[in-house]
Symmetry: C2
Subunit: 202 residues, 2 copies
Amino acid sequence: MKKKDSSPYHHGNLKDALVEEALKMVKTDGIQSITLRELTTKLGSSRSAIYRHFSSKDELIRAVIQAGFMQLDETISPFLISNDTVLARFRNMGEAYIAFALTNPNIYRMIFGNEVQTQREESCDIHNEENSGGFQHLVALLIEGQEKKIFKDDDPILQATYVWASIHGLSNLCIDGHIHVQDNIEALFELSFETIIKGMKF
Amino acid sequence: MKKKDSSPYHHGNLKDALVEEALKMVKTDGIQSITLRELTTKLGSSRSAIYRHFSSKDELIRAVIQAGFMQLDETISPFLISNDTVLARFRNMGEAYIAFALTNPNIYRMIFGNEVQTQREESCDIHNEENSGGFQHLVALLIEGQEKKIFKDDDPILQATYVWASIHGLSNLCIDGHIHVQDNIEALFELSFETIIKGMKF
DNA sequence: ACCTGAACACCGTTCAAGT
DNA sequence: ACCTGAACACCGTTCAAGT
């Protein structure tokens, strides 16, 4: 079990522990399940200690959102910079993306939901280089595809945004049950990827 | 101003009035702004009266979501069944859809958000014929396009789902500020529509 | 940089009693 | 089919006082 620190009045790294534990709670029970009372009880700290590190619950949630966003980013990035062909990398990324959303619906919902007003520009905007290497890698992949005459010569940033939006839309509709094609959900992905690639072809 | 009913103990149609007023609150201030206390105060009814019509706040919200979904549906449906060409109808629908989302971000977020667990199958599933004429019309449009050799011969329901997901993804990312291409947001839509249509071409 | 413990305003929900 | 009014448990947030 966890050992106490030298003093009962000091937690090892409360700020990170709060974010980590909150992300766990989101993952299993959704963002609505986070209450500061339960969160601090689980960590064995006091409620008011939170306000040493975050000015409000919303600010804490923003940190949790950012942590979740980085998990998604780390899941998809490797597929974009592998040694596979352009089209294989594209497809593998898409499958990994949707798999993440289906496996972690609560985290995905939190990231792209809007229960907390975030300054996306500064946290988990997909264009933010610091947090979204994935988007940058996607842009690079599309540029490579354009150079190899696989993809149409369009603005690669707009192209990447369109791709992201399409895959995001699929993920979003699937995990929130707006579509019920469960029997042939793979057929939906197959059709979607093919249509996207055909639409962007040189 | 509003006249009282014959008896102060009977509201004209409290159930509908609650949903209507709640939808207004969502539209201007977002779903988070709805509290039963404020809602009933605005209508001049008592708090407990709500429970004559809804078993909980969540059940009320579900009715509000459904009402919002029908507004979206009524906005886009006319464009799908107009006298224009297949491609014009397709494009006009897409533009109307995104325009609705940009004009009513709070309503759009509520519809496709997940702050309240809904049984989508019974309320605002896009496949639900009762509430989503738009989706049915989109399927019909795609079938017409296939017959006229404009679109590829794919399962029209999967095709329609892919189209919906793409436009939904664009709307969603735009209103939540995950993308900041505000300067050329029209260019993004232009590229998206062209890519989608090209991807589905015969 | 934490702790305890109390307090505050706000929330959804319930209930007893009236009309 | 409503009303009033009180109560309940829960919430985020603040604060005074300690270590």
